[in-house]
């Protein structure tokens, strides 16, 4: 039973061209997260997702979309734009990981130092951040989440259906394994 009166399903399907993806396109199961880089619950989920990925290997495809709630997390929007700036230079995942590993340090200077650490062209990164080049993409992610029933972060989808259970390691793994066996 879903927690809203409509079945909460992903309204914008995973797109191999558009989305940030780890794992093969033909993986047995797809886990998608709507997350906020400054949200402590997302920070707590980060190592769990890593562990799930390590255990499931190539059987899992993991997708991350932005859902910054700036009202609660003032640094979340620019952090998301920084991750997208890294994506523009093919370094999304290293940046994503650094952001979650340094959740309490997401000021402008911190973001720039992470950009440097992952080897970005800093002139380009600075210009894109200053002009909010990636803000539209972040908002597009956010609205796709709202229309898919995201009501807080992190919200997970397993093969496109919202996962309303707990996201502790055992529950998440069990849910994903069940999804693979249902195929």
């Amino acid at each position: 039973m879903s927690t809203t009166q409509w079945e909460a399903v992903l309204t914008v399907p995973v797109d191999e061209e558009r989305d940030h993806i780890e794992g093969p396109a033909d993986a047995a199961v797809t886990l998608l997260e709507y997350g906020d880089y400054e949200c402590p619950y997302c920070g707590a989920a980060y190592p769990i997702v890593k562990e799930v990925q390590a255990r499931m290997g190539e059987r899992l495809r993991f997708v991350f979309r932005n859902f910054p709630i700036v009202t609660s997390h003032p640094h979340a929007e620019l952090a998301a734009e920084a991750a997208e700036g890294a994506a523009a230079q093919d370094q999304f995942w290293p940046m994503h990981d650094l952001l979650y590993e340094n959740q309490r340090r997401l000021g402008d200077r911190d973001l720039r130092s992470y950009a440097e650490q992952v080897g970005l062209d800093l002139d380009r990164f600075d210009a894109e951040i200053a002009e909010h080049v990636h803000a539209a993409r972040v908002r597009e992610d956010f609205m796709s989440g709202v229309r898919s029933g995201v009501n807080g972060t992190p919200t997970f989808y397993v093969d496109g259906v919202r996962h309303d259970g707990s996201y502790d390691l055992e529950t998440l793994l069990a849910t994903l394994e069940r999804a693979t066996s249902e195929r």
């Binding site: 927690t3 809203t4 009166q5 009202t71 609660s72 609205m143 009501n151 807080g152």
Partner: protein, 162 residues
């Protein structure tokens, strides 16, 4: 497709009038919102974790609601000074109305008062510009209902107007 809680007023009902404090020296009434859609977000209490997430999400979505010319108000049984401190702490920039005296009177009129707890349900209403209920929904109290239902109701209203 949509289901309505047994207690919330169903679509088609005339919304009960109200006049509640929005600041220490200002009240808002249903009549103040005539001519534009109004979203009423009843929530149990200021400061409780789910409320804060839910209202933060709505704050993010104010520009989307305004695209439909809609206004949003939050309503709980908390007093006005509590609301002010809560709104300031959480960066909320929409009115929080104090359903404080008589306690929960408006929540009762809308069928969403929980007498045992002394707070309202977590309930959403979308009213049209004539003050008619167009959509209502009561969420399990610990569950953040999100915003998709509100946006769908506003879209339906807009389609009818075209």
């Amino acid at each position: 497709m949509s289901t309505t809680s047994p207690t919330a007023l169903p679509p088609g009902c005339e919304a009960p009038d109200f006049e509640l404090a929005a600041t220490p020296d200002q009240t808002l009434s249903l009549a103040d919102f005539r001519g534009r859609p109004l979203i009423l977000a009843f929530y149990p209490e200021d400061w409780s974790p789910v409320c804060s997430d839910q209202l933060a999400l709505y704050q993010e979505l104010l520009p989307e609601f305004r695209r439909f010319n809609a206004e949003l108000v939050g309503i709980s049984v908390d007093g006005i000074w509590c609301h002010l401190a809560f709104a300031k702490d959480r960066n909320l920039h929409f009115p929080l109305l104090a359903d404080f005296e008589p306690k929960g009177g408006v929540a009762r009129a809308y069928g969403v008062y929980r007498a045992t707890e002394g707070t309202s349900d977590r309930a959403l209403y979308v009213l049209d510009g004539d003050g008619i209920v167009r959509w209502s929904y009561v969420s399990p109290v610990g569950i953040n209902p999100g915003a998709d239902g509100i946006l769908r109701a506003l879209e339906d209203l807009e389609k009818e107007a075209d």
